[in-house]
Amino acid sequence: MNHRQLEPSDFHHTYMFFTGKGGVGKTSTASAAAVALADEGKQVLLVSTDPASNLQDVFGLEVGSDPAEVPDVPGLFTVNLDPEEAAGRYRERVVGPYRQLLPASAVASMEEQMAGACTVEVAAFDEFTQLLTDDSLTSQYDHILFDTAPTGHTLRLLQLPQAWSTFLEENEHGASCLGPVSGLASKKEQYDHALGALQDGAKTMLFLVTRPEQAAAREAFRAGRELDTLGIRNQQVIVNGLFQASSEDPLAQAWQKEQEEALELLADTAFSYIKLAPWNVTGLEALRAFFQDQEQPPAPEIEKSTAAGGLQDMVDVLQTRERGLFMTMGKGGVGKTAVAAETAAALAASGKQVHLTTTDPAADLSQFEALQSENLRISVVDPQEAFETYKEKVLREAEGSLEESELAFMREELDSPCTEEIAVFQAFAALAEEAEDELTILDTAPTGHTLLLLDAADSYHRELLRRHSPQADAVEKLLPRLRDPAYTMTAVVTLPEATPVEEAARLQQDLHRAGMYPAWWVVNQSFSKAAVTDPMLVLRAAAEQPWIERVTALAANVVVEPWKTADRRTLSQAGSGAGL
């Protein structure tokens, strides 16, 4: 096969991007590469563009918005382009000077207008292109590595230079929707330059990080093709966490087989791989050992299995409800879709009418379709479809009050990057409203995206209250609905590993700030809950314990789900009753 073990010498480009589904090890790989390059004496900048950066988990230090050197790694600088913070700085740059000059009502309305998702996206993108094009900045470093956000978000971020350049060219009215960055058209050159850097194979390499599993491999393929159409053809696939069973443990055998089958998808692709580490990759020592073969330490005694129950505990609570929302939230790749689907199937199997729906653009629909039954209705919110529906709705509503030439003008204006965001948001609000009549199980979009929407909810809310818009009832009631524990039950889904748990903890903090209190945490894919005997899996099970304990401290109620093979992940408990 055309694959080999990943080596530090694979990392030699000026710009290196690490993309892939959440939880595949982008941060670990990018961090290990950055440390290796710095240890060689290079000047290296490691950039996180994730709204919930986990660079700080890997290095065990705070990563701020200005590049700072990592204490024990001379030459390695880290920076976090947190979109929320970027937006905050941008807002302050615009509003700050006018605080004393304009009346309070004017300052308040400026701030409110700039609190939306649009500003966040635009400000983050602006900082991102500055990093790619600012010569005084880039000349300081031999290598700049981007530990990018989860795939959907990454793609949007990377797609933007193309989308916006096209938009600026085609829209003769001057890019009105891009308003939050004033004088944006004047930055077109900077954006073209950024896209040029991304497409330049001599300067840039895009690493598609994946795990040896079907969904992640398919996702890597999809992402690769999508970037290819944007002219970014300089791609290299990295398969992280290759596992070799060293015993007859049936779970270990099943996992190895599953990995081999998944890798058949990549049969025609050249890729490099990283073997599964017997511990979680955090701290400098682990990062420096990343590219070496690990000598397996002796397996410890298996710790007592957690007292936490299974999904049925959560299903029992939902049984008592006739309406309302149940949402799974968490980073991509932790199994939100599976938990949502399994919960819905279990409810349907016991005779409950439920509506299962997804707003995740990366959701695997076959998982859903297999579950459809008399009691279980399934729907998908496709962002592109929602976008088209929204545009048509807006145009229909405007028909009465606008002339034809004005309508044509509006049609053109609606084709903007921000409109899609609003469309998906409104679809989400509509789903929350439908839940008035029907118990609705929602598999939410990835965390960063969801949070942008939830954050936007508040400013939308205020704007609507001001405008008394009748058709916006669903949007107006969204936050109150999400905040009502009797209406909305939220489960934070995570994996028993350092990074997913810390990310989920930050998600919960953000939700608390928005006035939402998740009733459940689901720890998915636990080796310690499954009866593993393979030495490597026993080591992984032992490494899980501190993280399960941490979740128990964070959560109101905990569910721990045993590790399952992919084919059993969705349908395990519910399959028999799901009308299959």
């Binding site: 615009v94 700039m114 009105s176």
Partner: protein, 116 residues
Amino acid sequence: MKIEIFDPALCCSTGVCGTDVDPALTKMAKLHTDLQKSGVDVNRYNLAQEPGAFVENKTVQQFLEEKGADALPVVLVDGEQRLEGRYPTKQDAAAWTGRSEEDLTPKEPKNQISLN
């Protein structure tokens, strides 16, 4: 002759970014481009993006002090306040410029080919 329109804080001047699209903003955006194409000196300032214009203009600053941001938009013609709380129509623009409405409507290309 100079027309100046001071908008409230908007995400964008056409309103398509809002939670629901306000046709008044689309009308205004269209009128703005029509007037520009007809050679009228017309400017729009968005409070969220160009607060400087609101501060530099004494009339507008005083308007904001007295009535607050919720009373916007305000429209000035040659520096004098003509409208508040609503956008101008093509009739307004015709009266101010002394030109006919048709004269302020640029010719659309007639022979558009539809590919649908």
